[in-house]
Structure formats: C-alpha cells, structure tokens
C-alpha cells in the first residue's frame, strides 16, 4: 500500500466533524506551528518539501509564497482556488466534502505563513451543497478558537469565508477568479502585475489550489524533508488523481509519485483495469487541457521505458510523444470510443468557456468546434484536418490567458496521434455515423510507430 498523507483518515466515520478530526490527530500541525514556528519557518518547510501547485501548472508553492509583496500597512490575502472545472477533475470536491477540516487547517497554517487575516475559498457554483459543509466546519473551528480573534492565545486573527462562483470555467484562472471575487465578469487580467503584487482589491494575493493548501498539513506534521523523500526527482509527495472514463473503478485516489501509469490503470488498488474486458485505446492523463496519448505511448515512453505517474514522467517526450500531469484528471478511453467525438466535446467546452476577450480564442474555438462537428457528422473534407491544425496553431501563444493554449493542445494532440481516425471519418461519411473507428494500431502492447520514435 502506498503511503497516504491526505486521504489516510478519509475512511473514518464522521471525520467531517471537528471532534472526530481532532481526536484523530487533526490540528496537530496548526498546534506545532503556533507553539514555536515563525511564518518564515513555515514557508521554509514548504520550500523544503518541494510541493508543487496541484491546480495544474505545478509551480513550486514555497517559491510562489516567497514572491508575495509585503508593503507596510497593506493587507495581504490568501485565496483558495476551489473552482475545479477542468473536465476529468473532481478531486478537490472529494477533499472538501469528506475532509473539510483538513482544508481549513491547511488554510490556517498557510494564511499565518503569508500574514493574511481574511482568506476566501472560491468554490464553483455548481458544488452548491459543499459551502454548507465548509461553513459548518468553519463554525466548529471558530468555536474551538482555531479561527477568529487571538487564535490559541497567539494574537493572530483569521477569518475564512466561502464564496460561490456561478458557472464559468475561466474563473479557475487566478486573475479571472480575483475579478469574479470582486463582483465582476471573469475576464482574466493582463499580467504583469502579478497577483503577488496586485491581486484582490489591488492588494498582494496568493491563489492556491485546494489540494496544495491541504498538503501543507502533512508537510508540517512530518517535516518538509520527510515529505520530499516520497516520489521521484522534482515530483515530491503524494498526488490526488481523479480517474474516470472506461475503467473498472472510477474515483479519487492518492498516489505516491513513484508508480507507473500501467500500475495505476491495471492494479486493483487503483483503477482496476479497463471496464467490460475491453482494451485500452487512449488516455488524457491530466485533465482535458493536456494532450491525449494513444495506449502505446501512454504506458511506455517513446524510448520504451515504463511511463511514470509524475510531472516529468507524463511530460517525457514533450508534446510530440508525451503529455502532462496537469490537474490529475485521468480520463481513460476504451476501444469503442471515438477520438473525433471526444475532441469535439472538448472543443465545444472551450468555446463555451472562452471569456471572449481575445479574438484568437473567441473565434478560433468556435471554428474548431464547427469544423470538428462537420468531420464527426460525415460532412468533413480532407483539407479540414489541416485547417484544424492551422487554427490551433494560431491560437496557441496569442492570447491573454492560457485558456487559449488549453483549447489548442487537445486538438493538436488528437490530430498528431489519431490522424488516420480523422481521415477515416472523411473517407467514410456514412459508416462513421453508424460505428466507431475502433483501435487501429494504437492499443497496447503494440510498439510505438517507428516514425514517431524517430521524431524524438
């Protein structure tokens, strides 16, 4: 069994409530901090742990915290990003629903480290029942003097508030989130200035993901160095993976970042293999924005080595033969699935979620959706495939925020690895309405096509 640091107590009945959480070692990390650590020491511990942001980008958390500007007399804010809207991702929901005090303890320690006295949890509006759970836990924490004024007699004050969004993926992007929290449309801001200098209400602000902030608790408990011993290289500690699609056991798993993708998919401890005795066709391993990989490249890198469930492992081969760990949204497609249709749903998603500020993103996502819709419905031309390639190239890198890239990458990867499936749709306009293309040569255990391997 892998070491669990976040979900180790998730199975305990009523762990949602303060008394049970406390009786099982809860708030011990906060106690440790208040009994003798300075804010700088907490930041140092997080740096030592090697923790990287769990929201998708994987930026080192300790480093991010050290960038926070500290002008005299200006409040600083911590905002917890619980917008969780990346297709395939549902891990933060699990943490908040079942272990709300773990998040609150993490927020308390992190707020103390950053010198924040008002902290907001920005949660996607559709998780409409979770604010009640969080607010109840906040009340409990307050009654036990872990929040409010003069916490545990230290003189430190902190309030945590829950803010609901109202349905907009873009509000997960940190500057759009800040705009939304200020009561505006979720239009991303041009950076610089970065939130660390000018964020919420023009004050220095740190935005971190739910899982990142929860991970601060075990880091303090076991120490940064001990945490860094788990995992491989710069992928330290444990990571929550939300697994979905055509597997036997969809759900949220905590992995040590030292296992292979093959073990994650096929072992009974995790996904339990492909459902209904089917074969694995493809996988989007880190949420909808990351490149899709065919089975052969998913299980082994282009060099033929086992692919590992780490930031570097999933990225091995770059965008030519690799993907990304992203948010940990692990989407598995079996042999019956249509890559064109799947790509179409993602193009529609990004078109729907584009805030509309930049024309390459606003117009490009709409085009890609329409062209894909034609191909999927047997009305495509061969030149449409190149057109799609061309549009995604024109979006990437030409926008205010990374949503444009996130919309472009899945399409580029689908064409790169599954071009013959797109061509088959064009060449068989009637048949493609009745059946799917199937596996072709993508499935495990066939080797990596020579052309791809040579390109690396």
């Amino acid at each position: 069994m892998a070491r669990k640091l976040l979900l180790d107590k998730a199975h305990i009945e009523n762990i949602r409530y303060y008394d049970v959480y406390r009786a099982n070692g809860g708030y011990a990390a906060a106690e440790k901090v208040f009994k003798g650590m300075s804010p700088e020491q907490v930041v140092e511990e997080v740096k030592k742990s090697g923790l990287r942001g769990r929201g998708g980008a994987g930026f080192p958390t300790g480093l991010k915290w050290s960038f926070l500007a500290k002008p005299e007399g200006v409040p600083r804010y911590l905002v917890c990003n619980a917008d969780e809207s990346e297709p395939g991702t549902f891990k933060d929901r699990y943490l908040m629903e079942f272990l709300p005090h773990l998040l609150i303890e993490g927020l308390l320690i992190s707020s103390f480290a950053l010198g924040a006295h008002r902290t907001y949890i920005y949660i996607r509006g559709e998780y409409a029942w979770i604010p009640d759970i969080l607010e109840e836990a906040i009340e409990e924490a307050k009654r036990n003097n872990w929040l409010g004024k003069n916490i545990q007699g230290t003189g430190y004050d902190l309030e945590i508030y829950v803010q609901r969004g109202a349905g907009a993926y873009i509000c997960g992007e940190e500057t759009a989130l800040i705009e939304s929290l200020e009561g505006k449309r979720g239009n991303p801001r041009i950076k610089p200035p970065f939130p660390a200098v000018k964020g919420l209400w023009e004050s220095p602000t740190v935005v971190n993901n739910v899982e990142t902030l929860a991970a601060v608790v075990p880091i303090i408990n076991i120490g940064g160095e001990e945490y860094a011993k788990i995992g491989i290289g710069k992928s330290t500690g444990t990571k929550l993976i939300s697994a979905c699609g055509n597997i036997n056991k969809p759900g949220v798993y905590e992995i040590g970042m030292d296992i292979s993708v093959e073990e994650f998919i096929y072992s009974d401890e995790y996904c339990g293999g492909i459902a209904n005795g089917k074969r694995l066709k493809a996988c989007i391993p880190g949420g909808s924005s990351v490149p899709i990989l065919p089975a052969n490249l998913l299980l082994k890198t282009a060099k033929g080595e086992p692919r590992m469930m780490t930031y570097e492992g999933l990225n091995d081969g770059g965008f030519v033969t690799g993907s990304m760990l992203g948010s940990g949204g692990f989407i598995v497609l079996d042999e019956d699935q249509c890559v064109v249709r799947n790509t179409l749903t993602l193009a529609r998603f990004y078109h729907h979620e584009s805030c509309g500020q930049c024309s390459p993103c606003r117009e490009g996502t709409g085009w890609m959706k329409r062209v894909l819709n034609n191909i999927e419905n047997g009305k495509g031309k061969m030149s449409d495939i190149d057109l799609l390639w061309d549009i995604q190239r024109k979006i990437e890198g030409n926008t205010i925020c990374p949503l444009g890239d996130a919309a472009a990458w899945p399409i580029a990867a689908a064409i790169r690895h599954f071009r013959d499936e797109f061509e088959w749709h064009v060449l068989n306009p009637e048949e493609c309405l009745k059946r799917n293309y199937g596996l072709a040569h993508y499935a495990d255990p066939l080797p990596v096509p020579a052309a791809v391997a040579a390109a690396v």
């Binding site: 297709p87 969004g165 349905g167 505006k184 449309r185 979720g186 909808s288 805030c355």
Partner: protein, 164 residues
C-alpha cells in the same frame, strides 16, 4: 410579484456584505444574485436585477453584465425542475448521449425546452466535476449520478410527486 427580499433574506445580504472589507461590497454581487434567483422564481428578470443593483448601491449595468456572463444565472424563466445534464468528454464516453436522448423522449421536449405543464426544463451543460460518477445531472442543489433510464424515470416521478 413585487421583488422584495424577506426580513430574513435581507439579514443574509447584510451578513454577505460583512465578509468583505469596508467599501468592497460589490463583491457581494454574485452571492446576492444566487439568493435572488432562488427567491424570485428561479431566474433573473430585469426587475430582479434592478432590485439587486439598488440593494448593493451599484448601477444596473454592473448587475446585467455579471448576470449574463455566468451560466448558472437564468436569463429566462425555466421549469420548476431543471435537468442539467453534463455532456462533456468524460460523461460522453460514459453514455451521456444516450441519457440525454432518453430524457428527450420521455419528456417529449428538446434541449433548452420546457414541458407544457411548466414542470421540467432540459438543459445540457459542460463538466460539473462528477466525471467519475457519470452519466450525471444537476437537479437543484444536488447532483444525480450514475444515471440509467430507470433512475431517470424515478427522478421524474419524484419531481411529479413533489409538485403535487
């Protein structure tokens, strides 16, 4: 129906405004719009939005531009029960297309339409963060997951019983 919060809801508005520093009450807009939509028929009429603007002492346009940006705010009346079925990739590969077709047939309406009795509206939405429990839909405050035709039947019956 005159648009006016009850005493209790007005207190709730005050409580929301108190979450922000002095002078930053515009931040209360989205939470108060949620409260307004819940209180005034499940959608935001111009009258409702103007009322919210006056409560928060901001201009009506500041409310309209926000209300129209977010997909959870309904700009038109909807049925008493709003079925919001997710259709994004992970749900699609787990059978959401079939569930949407089944609901359409069962209720005799298309996507975006409301049944003649005003009870049900069908909407398709993008990923709701329940991909591992697909197919799924949002119904009011909660998610209904692992949907099958039988489960859809039961949900429709449950709503009809509640409406009576």
């Amino acid at each position: 129906m005159a648009v006016q919060f009850s005493e209790e809801k007005l207190n709730k508005v005050k409580e929301i405004i108190a979450r922000y520093p002095e002078g930053k009450h515009k931040s209360a807009l989205i939470p108060v719009l949620h409260l307004a939509q819940e209180s005034f028929g499940g959608w935001l009429s111009a009258e409702t939005m103007d009322y919210v603007a006056s409560l928060l002492q901001i201009t009506p346009i500041e409310v309209y531009e926000v209300a129209t940006f977010y997909s959870m705010f309904n700009m038109q009346p909807v049925g008493k029960y709003l079925f919001e079925v997710c259709q994004t990739g992970p749900c699609m590969i787990s059978g959401s297309d079939q569930i949407i077709d089944y609901i359409k047939k069962k209720l005799g309406i298309g996507v975006g339409e409301t049944t003649a009795d005003g009870l049900f509206t069908l909407k398709t939405v993008e990923c709701l963060g329940a991909c591992g429990y697909a197919p799924m839909m949002q119904l009011g405050k909660h998610f209904r997951e692992h949907l099958t035709p039988e489960k859809v039947d039961a949900i429709i019956e449950e709503c009809r019983a509640k409406a009576n």
